[in-house]
Amino acid sequence: MIKLENVYKNYGSLQVLKNISLEVAQGEVVVVIGPSGSGKSTLLRTINGLETIEGGQVLINDFSVHASQENLHKARQLTGMVFQQFNLFNNKNVMENVTIGPINVQKKSKAEAAEIALALLEKVGLPEKAQVYPSKLSGGQQQRVAIARALAMHPQVMLFDEPTSALDPEMISEVLEVMKGLAFDGMTMVVVTHEMGFAREVADRVVFMDDGIILEEASPAEFFSNPKHERTKLFLSRILNH
């Protein structure tokens, strides 16, 4: 479903992605972990073209995301993204945040969009917040609305960019629960996170990145109990024994 082929990305003279190849099958949950600065968020953002690439290609259902403006637009309609900082539209209430895509991009009627939105707000456990503005919500609630906003476009893939990193510890689980629900419903997901528990429990595959390359790729059981690279071992020992 998603295929990265020899992707290169530079910021000036700094190489952030060095010859990255990765495949994600339909219905698969892939968790990307690695130290900060390893390029994992950048990798995620090349999938919906928020980052340009300098070499290689990203394919979604066999069309090349970066080949044309049209493909880019198509890629963004097939994927939903959830950001670390939630990025809800501050000038819109919850309902408007969730319906803005269906109404303006998919040209659905307001009534139809509202129906979809209410069902999704129900799903993320916030039906009573429809008329509230983002500034009045907690971080966890904002992130759940952001998930509903992405889902409202009926994406085939969900991209999560450190969705719980900006949250207070007690709000992390409410967001992870929603994500687990999605995974069990069969959604294809690529998740950049530091939540090892989530990776262990939900991921079909764990990808470990360091310094712009994919160092290791394995099932969670294999990855956590029997990491191959020294760098992976070091990372895991630091993050699991603190």
Partner: protein, 218 residues
């Protein structure tokens, strides 16, 4: 020391009112035209095209680094060599060009101040650049733009007094004439200052009301 004689104001009230209406007329036209130029200038300055960005930069820097008085004189007398511009048209042009440059910067920085995450979120759900601007960025930017924009409009009303040098019969020009005739400088200039104050201050009250209404989502 002479007595103050405010009755001259009553006597010349019709002339003062004419001047006031000219000042209001020029200000309103310049605010509208200047805002249009400001939007255009801001779009140039944030454009991806190097040419448009350069045009925007030259416009802003040229206007901001020359005196308004010179700009008024240049448009009326300088361009007057080639085009037959009336004093009123010259004034509106000069004030619009002038305030447009400042409005360009106000709008540009308002747009730039919106966190890039807002843009990325909008792009990620498939919006076009234009939809991102219209539905997400501009509605938020406008709240930050409004206070400095109001300040710019008020500056424009006050600066419009300079157009009296090219014989536009605005509030200031009328006042000079009345003082020449009556020698009542203190009374007349005090009253004229009060008129400018009322104009400027009522504008800021209107904007304050508008800001309160826009604050709903904060």
């Amino acid at each position: 020391m002479q007595h103050l004689e405010f009755s001259v104001l009553i006597e010349y009230l019709p002339a003062i009112m004419d001047g006031l209406s000219m000042t209001i007329k020029i200000s309103i036209m310049s605010i509208i035209l200047g805002s249009i130029m400001g939007v255009g200038g801001a779009l140039c300055r944030i454009s991806k095209s190097f040419l448009l960005r350069s045009i925007g930069n030259i416009y802003v820097e040229w206007i901001r680094n020359t005196p308004l008085l010179i700009q008024i004189l240049f448009i009326y007398f300088g361009l007057g060599v080639f085009f037959n511009l009336s004093p009123v048209v010259s004034s509106v042009l000069a004030l619009s060009f002038f305030s447009g440059a400042y409005i360009t910067e106000i709008i540009r920085s308002g747009i730039k101040s919106i966190h890039k995450g807002q843009r990325e979120a909008a792009l990620s759900i498939g919006m076009t650049e234009w939809q991102v601007m219209r539905l997400v960025v501009l509605p938020q930017a406008i709240k930050r733009i409004l206070p400095p924009l109001a300040g710019q409009f008020i500056t424009l009303i006050k600066d419009s007094s300079l157009v009296s040098v090219i014989a536009v019969t605005d509030l200031t020009y009328v006042a000079k004439n009345i003082v020449t005739i009556t020698f009542r400088a203190f009374e007349v200039w005090l009253a004229i200052a009060a008129f400018y104050f009322i104009l400027s201050f009522s504008l800021s009250l209107v904007v304050r009301k508008l800001e309160e209404r826009l604050a709903e989502s904060d």
